[in-house]
């Protein structure tokens, strides 16, 4: 908006009836720091003289602040959602599910060691058995 147009709006604002929409636009420009020093002075004059305008500024400030925080929170939530999607939650749940007892936990922790130990035991049982069998046959054959 060219400065001349803005100034024109100001004078109409002050002298005649206000156009609400244009007033809102100016309030926002004012709060977002988009007015030049001259405009700021003219506008602050208007604020001082008109309680309704003054209140509009205050309420818009509250509104903008809430909107800004809301926007920040939304963007942060989006970011967190993205991070969360990278976590394998099912895997975590399986790891830390509350049910396992001590024995189950021991088993999970040392699964491979227990498996190796068990296969050794089986292997040795089988070999002991087969040795016994063969020696038994030998004894019988000697007799």
């Amino acid at each position: 908006m060219p400065a001349a147009v803005k100034e024109n709006i100001f004078s109409t604002l002050i002298i005649e009836m206000r156009n609400d929409l244009e007033l809102d636009a100016i309030i926002e420009d004012y709060l977002l720091g988009k007015l030049n020093p001259q405009e700021i002075e003219a506008f602050e004059q208007l604020r001082r003289n008109d309680a309704a305008v003054d209140h509009k500024v205050v309420s818009h400030k509250v509104f903008l602040h809430t909107m800004e925080e809301y926007a920040q929170q939304l963007l942060l939530k989006e970011q967190l959602e993205h991070i969360h999607s990278e976590i394998d939650v099912d895997d975590l749940v399986a790891q830390i599910a509350p049910h396992p007892s001590r024995i189950v936990q021991l088993w999970r922790k040392h699964k491979s060691a227990i498996a190796v130990a068990a296969s050794f035991i089986i292997l040795s049982l089988v070999s002991i058995y087969s040795i016994q069998q063969s020696t038994g046959r030998q004894i019988r054959s000697i007799e």
Binding site: I83, H84, I96
Partner: protein
Amino acid sequence: MNNSLKSSVPTDREFILGILNNSADALNKLYKAHFAMVLQFILNNNGDEDDAKDVYQEAIIILHNKVKEGNFELSSKLKTYIYSVCRRIWLKKLSQNSKKTGNITDYEDISEVEEDVEQHEEKDAAFVKMQSALEHLGEPCKTIIQDFYIHSLSMQDICEKFGYTNTDNAKTQKYKCLQRLKKIFFQH
């Protein structure tokens, strides 16, 4: 990023500096560092993984905002802080849903985060109000407002996106939408 950097867990101090500098990487590592702890706590206390996610994200947001506001003192460990906040939030949810609060009845470590949680709830109420006001706006007002105030699009971009013939018309429309939004927002 090389491997040694990736595998190293930053200290609390580094996390806080990272948040202050808007580091996405720091937030990412912080999030992943403590989720399992909270998940376990929630699962052990009548919740499921979705509850854990909600509670944990709320706690991270509370911590994030507190750090950003410069109000976080590193007197306790981040881990302890996050845990206490999650406990407080979950305890509140449980007592809202039913009378029995399970076996988390000791309030001792909770009182210090009470204020943070309550502040967050107040803000959250304002956000819910904003959200519902936006929903009441309808299209295209809702998207125009979101594009301008949340996604920081310029009026030129919005003008083109929606097919207004010129930026001034788009601006006028934006202010009309804004007026309606404010009316709804301040009414409730």
